[in-house]
């Protein structure tokens, strides 16, 4: 049965981390796992704690775009960071790093070729298999917490509705039913290793990311709040900015929806 509930014991056996996922919150249903961790009234405060919901009533992406995911089939979860000394200097590339972790985890387990879309979408054969939403909270100029929300389509076989980028799942692409516990443990194990790597050698992460981004070097269009910018996707700089070569100059882009033209 592909829609059986998440088995925490199996997950725990496969989890090989020091702090990420060591505190684990499991819910049948939440409005959104990111909102749960952002909300002060809930008690989840441990650095590295993970909250997983089998179903999100208001799963969301950037600018409150909705994230649809059927119950008990996929992975919708969030990781909380409250000890920020290690990642504070890597904030701008944490999105890239997280998408790389998810892509590499899928490739390691299922030998599926993934493609990364700036800054953090994970695609298989031009279809979106996972999305990431990073949220943080600052009090004045002091960063209090950072939340990495990941939605990964695992065992869902049909997607109804309209999407900006057509969706897919690991099941569709691999043609097999997937053990979600194994996927989650793999992502969390790799994520913790990535956190240490970002401190020691951020440029190697950026190189790995660029190697998985087929848009690099292509003519692209970036939509920023209704404004369209055209150019060539020249490079990613050390802060994760997209460098867009336009007719006049190289522009540093830090947000927007990117598509190949």
């Amino acid at each position: 049965m592909e829609d059986k509930k998440f088995n925490i014991e199996i997950f725990d056996i496969k989890l090989d981390t020091q702090f990420i996922g060591r505190n684990f919150y499991y819910y049948d249903e939440l409005d959104s796992t990111n909102s749960f961790l952002m909300d002060k009234k809930f008690g989840a405060k441990e650095n590295g704690c993970v909250v997983l919901a089998e179903f999100q009533t208001s799963g969301r992406g950037r600018l409150e775009r909705t994230w649809e995911s059927q119950k008990n089939l996929n992975l919708t979860f969030s990781i909380l960071f409250t000890e920020l000394e290690m990642i504070e200097n890597s904030l701008s590339i944490l999105n890239l790093a997280t998408s790389l972790v998810v892509a590499q985890s899928i490739e390691n387990l299922f030998q599926l070729k993934t493609d990364l879309k700036w800054p953090n979408d994970i695609l298989i054969k031009e279809k979106k298999v996972a999305g990431i939403l990073l949220e943080s909270s600052s009090s004045g100029s002091k960063l209090n917490k950072l939340i990495i929300g990941i939605g990964l389509n695992v065992n869902q076989s049909k997607f109804l509705g309209e999407y900006k980028i057509p969706p897919t799942s690991i099941r569709i692409e691999s043609r097999s039913i997937i053990e979600r516990e194994r996927v989650l443990a793999e992502i969390l194990n790799n994520h913790e290793a990535m956190i240490y790597k970002l401190v020691d050698n951020p440029s190697s992460m950026l190189n790995d990311w660029k190697n998985k981004c087929s848009m690099l070097g292509e003519k692209i269009c970036i939509e920023q709040n209704g404004k369209l910018i055209y150019g060539v996707f020249e490079d990613i700089d050390e802060e994760g900015y997209l460098l867009l070569r336009t007719k006049k100059k190289i522009e540093k882009i830090n947000f927007g929806d990117v598509s190949v033209i």
Binding site: M38, K40, R62, L63, E64, L91, S92, I93, L94, N95, L96, P119, N120, I132, L133, L134, E135, S136, S137, S138, S139, G140, S141, K142, L143, N144, L146, N225, G240, Y241, N254, F255
Partner: protein
Amino acid sequence: MDLEYIKKLVRLLDSTSLTSIEIEEDGIYIKLKKESKIPKLVTTQINPQSQIVENMNTISVPAKTETVKQETKEEKSSSKLHEIKSPIVGTFYRAPTPEADSYVRVGDKISVGSVMCIIEAMKLMNEIESDVAGKLIKILVENGTPIEYGQPLFLIEVE
């Protein structure tokens, strides 16, 4: 001229409105002079004047105090204005979505922990909370504009 005569002259002077009597008799010259009412009048004139002066002083003194107070108030209020600055480089949003209401408006009462805005950088949506309680005086940047690190975003009059 005996003493009794002089006393009579004094009583005369006292009982009249005269201010001085001068008599020269048998080679003796006497001049009696009393403090005229004029000086008294002058005194009364002086008194109102002094009162005016005093009043003016009393008016001007509090006025000064008021000015001083105002200055102190201004000094105090300028020291009580608090700027919330951006902790990251990114894009400033006043609302969670383009359609939604702004988190805060000018004049709003702000508590510690009130969400003021979102700054987006590399798809990291950073909610900025107020670190002080007070009243929102000014929003210093336009919605959707790029923000530099440390750029002031809001001006809050601290309670």
